[in-house]
Each structure stands twice: as structure tokens, then as C-alpha cells.
Symmetry: C2
Subunit: 155 residues, 2 copies
């Protein structure tokens, strides 16, 4: 259900998934720190928000924890719009790499949304390294949690 694809022409990862929730609820799940921490990342990790200022020109930092290990991520909210979220993203364990992520919340009607993410990096080497890193597991686990969270809210 989560579709992950390497772009043929550019160092981009495309990620698509449909949710049974209106676009505004998807946006909120990406901008409200308490909601975001509940679903982001693989099942085996817990997330602690260190800094969160979700507005155009704001920024974030969070830490994912498994046992004694911590993985930190940070970035900026370049733009937050009802239909689009543009943000930068760096994993501090690979500090030179920066992704420019654009998320679109496509309204499918009937309370459904297609979430499309385009993750653009500066080289195919970086892009392919991310794909090999197991990011898909984290994505699929995270979106499954997000789906359950949206379903619980609605129910």
C-alpha cells in the first residue's frame, strides 16, 4: 500500500500512500508534534521531539530511540500550505546529506487523501544509499501506525 520508487532521471525518491482521512488531518499529523511522534519511524523505535516550530520558516529536531541508541534528525519547514508541505531533512549520522522533501495532500474526495512525497537529494549515490538503508521499513511501519491513529481518531 506504501509505494516507494526511485526516479529514473533524477536523484529523487517518490513515496505514495492513500489514507482514509481528509487532507487537513494528514497535514495535522505532520505538523502537530504530539501526533507526529506517535507514528513516525519503524515500530522498534520511540520518538522524542527536541524542537518543533511548524510554520513556514520554522524548524524541527527529533530523536528516535531504540534501547540505548539514539538517532537524531533535523530540518526546516520551508513552507506549510493546506495542500503542500516543503521541508529539509538531515539525519545527523550522515551530516553532509540534505534532502528537500515536498509532501502533497491530494484530496481524493469521500474523506480520502493521497499523500505523495518527493524526496530530492544532490546525487544518485546519496539517494541509492538511503534506499539501501532500510528506510522503506521505517516508512511502511510509520504509515501503518499513522493509518491506525487516523482510524482511532475517527472511531
Amino acid at each position: 500500500m506504501t509505494h516507494v520508487e526511485a526516479d529514473a532521471e533524477l536523484p529523487i525518491i517518490w513515496i505514495t500512500r492513500e489514507f482514509q482521512a481528509a487532507p487537513g488531518r494528514l497535514l495535522r499529523a505532520h505538523t502537530d508534534p504530539d501526533l507526529f511522534a506517535r507514528w513516525i519511524g519503524p515500530d522498534s523505535l520511540q520518538t522524542r521531539i527536541e524542537h518543533w516550530d511548524a510554520r513556514t520558516g520554522g524548524s524541527f529536531r527529533y530523536v528516535s530511540i531504540r534501547g540505548g541508541e539514539e538517532y537524531a534528525f533535523y530540518g526546516s519547514f520551508h513552507q506549510i500550505r493546506p495542500d503542500r508541505l516543503v521541508q529539509t531533512f538531515t539525519y545527523e549520522g550522515d551530516p553532509e546529506a540534505v534532502a528537500l522533501n515536498t509532501l502533497w495532500f491530494d484530496d481524493l474526495g469521500d474523506g480520502r487523501t493521497r499523500l505523495r512525497t518527493r524526496s530530492l537529494v544532490d546525487s544518485f549515490e546519496t539517494r541509492d544509499g538511503w534506499l539501501r538503508s532500510g528506510m522503506e521499513i521505517g516508512l511502511r511501519d510509520g504509515y501503518d501506525k499513522l493509518e491506525r491513529m487516523l482510524s482511532d481518531e475517527a472511531g
Copy 2:
């Protein structure tokens, strides 16, 4: 002296110029709002800073003015390091386009710095549109002003 090049493989514009100033002074010219407003853009424009928070996770917005016309630009400072500045950039007249700009301040010794900018966008169409827009004139004018400003400070 200002070298502008379209990348052959990726939707990137590479911009290179050497300056008679140490890296720290180049970084300051890009992060101090009063200094930045003095040199950015073509000679025919004046720049007014609307918002400026130059730190990792901060953001900016400025307006360039020619007669009664105003052109607004905004973005985020993803990361500020002594050797590297990573920021996003959008011209509000073309609101869908977002560039991820990385500036490196290469220390050449003897008080000289090579400023290298990599401007990455999401398509060749956007990249080529920017190159056709006359951005080179603004770049060259701006860097000439920056060179004079650095020279005046030193003298």
C-alpha cells in the same frame, strides 16, 4: 570572474567566484542582514530585509525594489557552519519552485576564499527557466558589490 554553469547531469546551477577575504568574512556577508542587503542583487535594485534569523533552523524574507516594483524572496537556513551554508530559496513570483542552495566557503589561504554555490531544483525546466531569467546579471552585479564591500571594509 563569476563562473555560472548548468550541471550536465542534474538540475543544478553551479556558481563559483573567488574573493580577497577570509572565509569568515564571506559567511558574515551572507548571514548579517545589514551586510547582505548592501550587496545582494543587481545594481538596479534596492533590498529591504523583512525577516532575518540567521541560525541553523532560522529563516529569512527580503524584498528587492526597483521604482514601484517589488520582488520578494524567502527561505530557511537549514544549516549554518563555518565552511558551509545550506538554505532553501523561493521567489514569490514563482511560488511552486524551491531551490536547495549549498554554499561552500573554501579557504584558499592568504586571506582568499572560493565561494562555491550549488543550487539544486526539482526539474531541468525550472533550472533552465532560472538561467534564462537574467539571474546571471544579478549574480555578477551582486558579487561585484560584495567584492567592493569587502575591499572597503579591509581598507
